[in-house]
Amino acid sequence: MKDTAEQVIDRSAKTVVSFFVASAGLWLLAAALLAYIAAAKLTDPFFLSSCEFLTYGKVKVAQANAFVYGWGGNSIFAATLWILARLSQVEVRGRIMLLFSGVLWNLAISFGLLGILDGHMNAHEMLEMPTVVWPVLFISYAIIAFLALVIHRSRKHSDTIAPQWFILASLIWFPALFLIAWNGLEINPARGTLPSVLSLWFGQSLIWLWLTPMALGAAYYVIPTILGRPIDKYYLAIFGFWCIAALAPWSVVHHLEGGPVPMWIPAIGTVMSIAMIFPIAVASTNFHATAFKDISKVWSNLPLRFVIFGTISYTLSSYIGVIFSLPDVAKLTQFSIINEFHFNQRVYGFFSMIIFGVVYHMLPKITGKEISKSAKSFHFWTSAFGVLILLLAYLIGGLTHGVLAQQPSLDWSSSVISSVQPYFKITKYAFVILGFSQLVFVINIWKVIFPNPFACCFTSSIEKKGKTA
């Protein structure tokens, strides 16, 4: 039987995508472990306190980096390559280079995280890994992005559609953001609070312009593909895309409200954050109007259920983000653990849930092996439950923290922080649930990627014999 064009493409992507998905899974587990340690240290300050490598500050930073660059980066590479190859109807080429760059990327992150734990942290948000690893990360990223662009350039149809815009934009924005930040922080560093503005802008833009468009692009691809129906009100998508492109780079600096920077910097962020209502509404309409036409299928199809959970989370988190960017609200909550709410809502509730869905959709096609439905369902419920608990704890805890911190009569540690303590405890348990859930995810994907890990040499020799005979 002759393979279909899709099968040829999937086979060409198999090794590379499997590699990226498998390593993304490992990073997810590493991040889960670090997240637990950090949360446990907040509830018991003596937990591991004698170990210098695991101070709260280091672990917190290492966790965010492992999550964004390890899990986020690897899963972005996997989803980008496969979706672009499928949409372009061409095979993935340069596989050796892709694998080589992938290994380099992962080695650089490992080295960078060890550097952070060993006390070589940088002071820049989401650029905390030691200076030496960044050129390596950049080069490996550039190779992967170039090969992904080669796939896109050799596409069969010259027309492009929404998933391609979002994914390509994410692919191109990350190195551009990085070069801007690297130039302003390392090559031509400015003095005073200028680098703080820039690094804050980079850290927030990374989520808005790298993770977010990737996840949106994946949703634009997966939802119509699985449902077999076009995106509802598709003509709005292009408006939504350019709104994000025009507004998101500005909307991220409202965190400096009242800080030692010129007043226009947070003000511009607030205005643009409010304007972000439009692109959020567009994406929300596109996804949910399409999904709700066939809601029973969304419910029964697990990859799609993950994706829709992510898109709903995106809509909610973005609207909540708009509320918290209003200056009067920002003054109350800007230094509270509400920041953790925003980060986890975006990278876990939104980005990761969509990526889980994409991986569950993609892996069976690539490997030809199904993942058991109950295992996926278990992963979904633990993830959804865990993330809900986590976000509620951070949201209510953050409001408590913010409001009490503004009462000068209350003592800091015995009144303000003590009142937030119960929420720290809840987040600790939420991270246990999430860690468990992520372990199930990794087992699920590793089982199909390496169905028979101890017999690989054995089977390949049988295949060879079969061929010669």
Binding site: K41, L42, P45, S49, S50, E52, T55, Y56, G57, K58, K60, G119, M121, A123, L149, S158, T160, W165, L168, A169, I172, W173, A176, L177, I180, A190, R191, G192, L194, V197, L198, L200, W201, I238, P249, W250, V253, H255, L256, G258, G259, P260, P262, M263, I265, K331, F335, S336, I337, N339, E340, A405, Q407, P408, W412, S413, I417, S418, Q421, F424
Partner: protein, 400 residues
Amino acid sequence: MDNIFKFSFGILATLAFAWLAFVVGANLQYGDLSPEAENFEDDGSRPPDAELYPKDMSGLAKQGAEEYLALGCVSCHTQQVRLFTKKDANGKKVVEAGFDIQRGWGKRASMPRDYILQDHVMLGNTRIGPDLANFGMNEKDNDWLHRHLFEPQSLVPDSICPPSPFLYEVSDEPKDGSIMVDSHDGEDEGNPKTRYVFPSIRANRIVGYLKALKQDYELPELPFVKAKEEKSDSNVITTQGIPDWVRYPVPSSVLTDLSSQMSAGKEVYTKIGPGGGGCVTCHQPTGLGLPVAFPPLAGSDWVNGDKDRLIKISLFGLMGEIEVNGVKFNGAMPAPGTPPGSLTDQQIADVLTFVRNSWGNSASAVSPSEVSEVRASLKDRVATQMWTAAELTSHSKPAQ
């Protein structure tokens, strides 16, 4: 949209706008901030011989900043006192104390200028611990800080700040230089255990850094918040008028006198021939002079020192042996100008202000009236009689 190059151009252009604002624009607006006097004179000029703030940190404190960064303290501690404003009865925007100052975390909001001399600016974005921008102002002694660093719970029972025992040598017996701590770590929670800790060099650095964190000076853009009772609020809200340019750091160009003196002085310095000083021929555009032959002006103890001496040299010239920054030179410098000694009081004031504030020099400006005073006091001196270094050092005050 379908052409990847046009598409890339579009999405990079949107990013470039934000870059233009947040990086290029912000840098143009306040990238040139420098240490400044606490207050300006009524005419907007810097008072002569005023102390300039912020001051640089000590070497120990700078090393401490590295340790603070490496341990990740910034994850829980911000270093920024926020500015709170509100509209008063007349609809005018006024500065109010705000929660941060009421909590005692500072005497005024932090300004961009406060951070210009720091190698690592760690503003932070989460306050699980208190703000530390003015931690050095609370006058805790070293022992208290070491106890807190070793085990915060020994001083603040409810603290969730993690202890840092790895910065200390711990023993059960006192030794020279060790500090007693009532440790709650361990099996017996109710009864604290007495331990003696000896701080490592790293602990001393961190303590040095924490004590150096203070914004305890006023700035022209924002004075301290003054306490003033207000009837409407039960809290003591403190208010004061807010000048239009508060919040916008004052770039050097606001000091109109200084900047016009600087540009006029530069012209005198570089121009050779009538109307110019021709200084550049010997002292070079770099202000470094030439080894052996001509002394440097950049970093020179003479240039940054006493003004009187400089004015005298500018009026009559200087000859013979002179020691600059510990290096001896032996030559002759005619009074600047063509013909020598022809510069006006204004020109001398300008060129001296220029050399005292260029190439890394930062000393007070020289005014024309100061020059005319010196000129008047020396009206009996023969115009061709150059000074010697010995004569100047014996006559005038020692270098500052």
